[in-house]
Amino acid sequence: MKSLAYLSDFELMTMLAVLRLADNAYGVPIAREIEEQTKREVKLGSIYAALERLEEKGFVVSELGEPTRERGGRAKRYFHVTRRGMRQIRETQQTLIKLWRGVPELEGGRL
C-alpha cells in the first residue's frame, strides 16, 4: 500500500485555483477564484502559507514577476502545479470519489 501525502481541503482548493488560472496564477486571482466558488472571504496570508507548504512538498513551483507601479513596486509571484502535484490531485480526486460512492445520504446531490 503506497503512502499518500494528504492534501487539506484548502490546499486542494488552492491547487485547483492555480490550475484554472494557468499562467495568471498569483495571489489576487487565486484568492478571487476561491472566494467566487466558496462565497467566503479568503485571507491572502493563508493562501501564501498553503502554497509554501505545497512548494515544500514539491506540488507547486513559483517564480517572481516584474515589479509594477500599481502594486506599489512589488513583484507578483506566479505559481504552477508540478507533475507531482498533478498526480497528487488525481489521487485525491479518486480517493474522494471512492469514499463518496459508499455513502447513500450523498447520492443524487440531496442533503
Binding site: P67, E70, G72, R74
Partner: protein, 230 residues
Amino acid sequence: MTKSNSLEPPKLATWLLEQFSPVLEAPLAGDLIESFRQGRSSGWYWRQVLWAILVAFLCSSRKQWGRLAYAVVCGGLVSATWFSMFPKTASTYVQSITESTGVHFERIQVQEVRALPGVFDLYAKSYGIHWPWSLVYQVAFQTIFQAVIITFAVCAYFGFARILKVQNLPGALLVVVVVLAGSNLAVTFLTVIQPLRLAVWLVLISTPTLAMIIGTWMTDPARTAWFVSA
C-alpha cells in the same frame, strides 16, 4: 498621473507587514495593494495584514520550535526575576498610588525585598515623586529592566548560534518596548481593580514571554528566509 489618497492603503498596516514579515511582504503586500486599489476597504486591508502576520509567525514557529521554547523559558525567567525583586508587587503598586494620591486602599502589605536590593532602591525612588511622574518612572523602569534582559537573551541566543543579524535588532526592540510599556502601563492602572486581579497577574507573568517571543522571532534571520524559493 496624480495619486489619490484613497488609493493608498493604511501606511501603518503596510509598515507592520514589512517589519514582521519582510520577505513575505514583497509579493503579499503587492497583492494587498492591488486588491485595495481595486476597491477593497481599509478594514479588509487591516484584517489581511494582521492575519498574514499571525500566519507568518505560526509558519516560522513551526520550523523554529527550539527558538520558541527558548523564548518561553527566558520570558518566564524575566518574570521570575522581576517578582523575586518585588514579592508583593501588587501591594507595591497600591501603596504607591496611596502615597501619591492620598486615596487609601485596604490590605496594604509591607514589601519584602529579597533580590537585587540595589535595583529595587532605584525603583523605590518613584515613591518620592508625585503622580503622574511616579507612574511614568515606574512604567519606564519596569520596561527598561525587562527590555535589557530580553535584549541580552536575544543577542545571546543568536550570538552563540553565530547568526545574529544586528540590522534586525532595532525594529525588534522597538516592538518589544512598545509591547512591554503598553502592558506595564495597563497593569499599573488595572491593579487597583479588585475583580481583575487574576487577569492582571496573568498579564504580568505572560507579557515578558510574549515580548521575548516577538523579539526572537523578529531578530531571527531565518524569518527573512521564509518563503524564499526563487
